[in-house]
Symmetry: D2
Subunit: 340 residues, 4 copies
């Protein structure tokens, strides 16, 4: 950490800080510039950094504190430079496979989820998605079938052999969702619901952590660290678009985040072009772009009949569009060193 | 709702939609323009709008759906044009009083919260703030004293007579926080944690709902509607700054939101200039600005010694700075028709 | 255009508007909803829309005006559905070729630009980039060699046969830049400098229009319409990242914009991953992603020795990194139906 | 400036940098942390900083460079701690007076600007605003009367005695606008049009520099430094709202910027609540808020009949609304130590 003193701060001010730091056991380097003095602080752990920074910034003669090292440890690339591989019922995420998770936004009926599963399986998807618990902006919208939805997903898994990924929104539901799901999804609105993160951190089911719609990459990694700090290291990060000023699309898919995460962390990276664009017509191009940029997998909304979907119809692919995308993806992965 | 057809959509396409809408019981008006046809849909309730819009946008010959009426009912201004007043142990929020809530970010020790309470009480604050459960970006930071913190707050209330406002982060804690708190605070990271919103909606303690750091005003009001839809109408909305590209300040305090909310809803509006700026030096100016713009109250972080605060020291006022702000506020409210 | 009346507006209010519209020669459709009345206005040209919308929104009983058709004509996809192809000294942009423009941020010396040209030519680039006029955030930075820089670019063109693209920042320089450049670049800071746009619209040299760092796609297309409205239809659009809250990268490359523009306009789309990320290490992944998503070309900063570059060293590729990227691109385009 | 080395950088790497810095004449302090080494660089002038930072960030073993001192000099608070006062035909900006500039968005006709001038004068405004050159998002909108508009403004000044402020958009118009205007306005779309900034920097007419719609405060001050670097120190900064994700308002008025600028610079600060909100109904509250937060003046759009305005009708106050706002402002300034 570096402490930048205000222009005009006295030597006395500086010495007070140095003494304070030494009392706390930190090493100190002083660098007196033409205008400003800066103090390098050695030995601050990620745990202590935020607090220390806040306290020193409260001093009237301190301008600001600059963080030098990353505020996370377990999810840091250096912790496991070879990368994390997650095995979900035989499907390996983070390895050679270009993983495709597909299915409807919401589990609507037994027939709908079964038909969806068969459609995406036939087209080559590896994992089935579907929501049993749904966050909706309006309190009056449909919120999912809950446990019944989980059971329908399990039936679809039995019929097709595909592992299932589904969202958990409530700390009280973590246990029951773990009984059915192969991957727990944390949605964007709960991306900083720290109690929920800790709860899934205590589970031993893999977790797919969506990016908060206004989370910086660093905050997202800190959210992942919450999960990892409880002992669950099977985490994948899902870029699902961020909130910007653009209104033509629902969100702005941050493709930069893919190679950035590959530099910063050992966790697998999944792309969600459905939420990342909000428009079915844009999904194929962005999916291909995400894989070309190096993501480990994608999660894509597909519905047997989008115009009758209970949620997110506008961003769901038709079976035909999904099939066509999988064809293109096959050609693409052939030259990027992945298998589909 | 208005459905905009794509340029080139056929009459057949249009008729299909019209028939579909009539089957669902909606009224329909068609308007054929030079380039595009639009279909006005009459009788769509806020409950049904999101779903309907999603389904029609999934049709290949529909360009988009435009929402005309507001997607909330109970919190709409028209529902209670005279405005909502909330009585908290004799302190009325939403009336003549310019309400000031003040105190430390976090309840640290019995002595600290007691001293803080006495400082802010003496300077003229009406309500005591302090966190017993704290959301922290880092999993390794201090997360609050929990129930012990609530007890310390209750002692400070007993000693000073000030009602207390404190955050609840977990559905499992709602009941215990209700036992101690006079106002339940929902933090920005849980602003779209819908299960938590529903849970506090079932309580009968007033709720202060912070704006999500990337929530549009409309989404914020829908979040309030979640609470209201469960029967708890004692809601105040707290503007705490939104996330933007500016990095000099921690957040951008959205002063526009104050008069905007006054137009749209009957709920009282509280300003949080401490989080809205993230810098103690900017807090007084923004507090005064918020009251001049018409907010009903403000919540301000004050710490006996910010440089020793466990959290948010950089944005906490010293006792002297707070006292001076209260003096200025007294002069201001004298000319804005409020009491302090 | 649709005019939404406020809840509570009277029939008299409505009739006033209808009469006003009819006087202006527009067709009118009224649609009376449960809460609100909306008025569809037929026959408003893109020219008149902004003004009309502003005037009606000024009426106290009007809630808002909703635009239905696009506010641009000549750059609209429907104007030329087959797409625009631009021929620059034999290099066709907008056709089969995956066009690569490469070179240093700034023309520094004769030797530097000549060496750069040879490096990128050898690796397979088609067009040489290099700045003679440079916008710098600081008034004290280097601002380019001006006409001398243009001459150095022309020498490099002569030596390598590559056409050149270079920025013009000032209406007074358009003529001289046209004498040397094959493509005029409009930078992000001048993306809404309408007088400059009109001036290059009167030239007959192709223009590459960068997106404003906070321009919505619609505004960007309106900026292109400025150029086209003066008779210069040889325009390409360059996505160079938008400004968001993320700080790890310099900008957020908006990959969604690529397929979105392909839907909306007939103009070719170029990607600028150098500015779109601001970090050389992220450039290859984002370039590949952009081509997989369907862009017609990319413009990439390459410097013989980035650590000695006068500007943008942090985002410039080394010759080796560029060569390696071109290899990957060759494999990619082989499966996307483009030639490199 | 501080250079942060990557984890794993060697001593050799470090020594190379140190040597390089010493050759350039800078002082150096090395601070070896547990994970990372940082190098403090002493003596970097604001002029050299951007270039140096870019070059070092291009080195593969450098993580990033952190700027410590401000990248501007002449506009820095320390340069003139007592603040800048600008005298415009007897109206002092930056002193005791709460300055109000008011008038229509656009000069439409002789009669309209004359009537507007009389209305705002009577209500107590000090300076007349009105656009002769207008930037419009659409190329087909009205772009102002140009020189004829300037002449109409001059007539209104003669009749009322009010100084006039008007926008200049083109380097070629600076001279003629200086002949008529008392204050040159630089609009948000030209806030980083550096050639225009330099041109008005060579004039001796005061300049009101609007904030770019996505300019950080630091970039805005650097834009002001462009003007000042040419010798024109009579600059005022105008906060006019920034672009965010919120869609209810046209822009987000950044009230934080007012006290922030007061800390950072000696230049007067003007608020533009008309563009800052885009809605006439929100303008009074935000104007009052801005003055309570300490701005030196405000610029407000007022039109004799907003529903007939050629531009910006939706955000223009009626004469009655403006008069009522001036009454409230009188009461407010009475307690904030300003005169109106």
């Amino acid at each position: 950490m570096v402490i930048v003193m205000k222009t005009g701060a006295s030597e006395r001010n500086r010495d007070d800080i140095v003494e304070n730091l030494k009392e706390r056991g930190y090493g100190v380097h002083i660098s007196v510039g033409a205008e400003k003095t800066i103090i390098g602080v050695i030995g601050v752990s990620p745990d202590a950094k935020a607090e220390l920074s806040d306290q020193f910034e409260a001093l009237p003669f301190v301008e600001r504190c600059v963080s030098i090292s990353n505020p996370y440890k377990v999810v840091d690339k250096n912790f496991r430079p070879e990368g994390t591989k997650i095995n979900v019922r035989g499907v390996e995420i983070g390895g050679d496979l270009a993983v495709v998770m597909a299915g409807p936004c919401t589990v609507e009926t037994e027939a709908q989820i079964m038909e969806s599963a068969q459609i995406v399986k036939k087209a080559g998807a590896h994992i089935l998605r579907g929501g049993a618990y749904k966050p909706s902006t309006s309190p009056y919208s449909f919120h999912g079938h809950g446990v019944d939805g989980l059971k329908m997903l399990a039936q679809a898994r039995e019929a097709t052999g595909m592992p299932i990924v589904t969202e958990v929104m409530d700390v009280r539901d973590v246990q029951v969702v773990c009984e059915y799901a192969d991957i727990l999804q944390i949605g964007t609105r709960n991306a900083q619901n720290y109690n929920l993160l800790r709860e899934v951190g205590q589970a031993r089911t893999p977790v797919m952590l969506k990016r908060g719609m206004s989370s910086r990459i660093e905050e997202w990694l800190q959210a992942a660290e919450y999960i990892a700090s409880q002992g669950n290291y099977q985490i994948m990060l899902c870029e699902r678009g961020i909130r910007t000023f653009e209104t033509y699309t629902r969100n702005t898919f941050d493709i930069n985040a893919i190679p950035a995460l590959k530099e910063l962390t050992h966790l697998p990276v999944i792309a969600d072009p459905s939420h990342g664009t909000g428009k079915a017509s844009l999904v194929p191009a962005v999916t291909l772009g995400a894989f070309a940029a190096g993501c480990d997998g994608a999660i894509i909304e597909v519905h047997p009949n989008p115009a009758k979907a209970l949620k997110d119809g506008a961003q769901s692919l038709t079976p035909e569009a999904f099939e066509s995308l999988m064809e293109q993806l096959k050609r693409l992965t052939a030259v990027t060193g992945r298998r589909l």
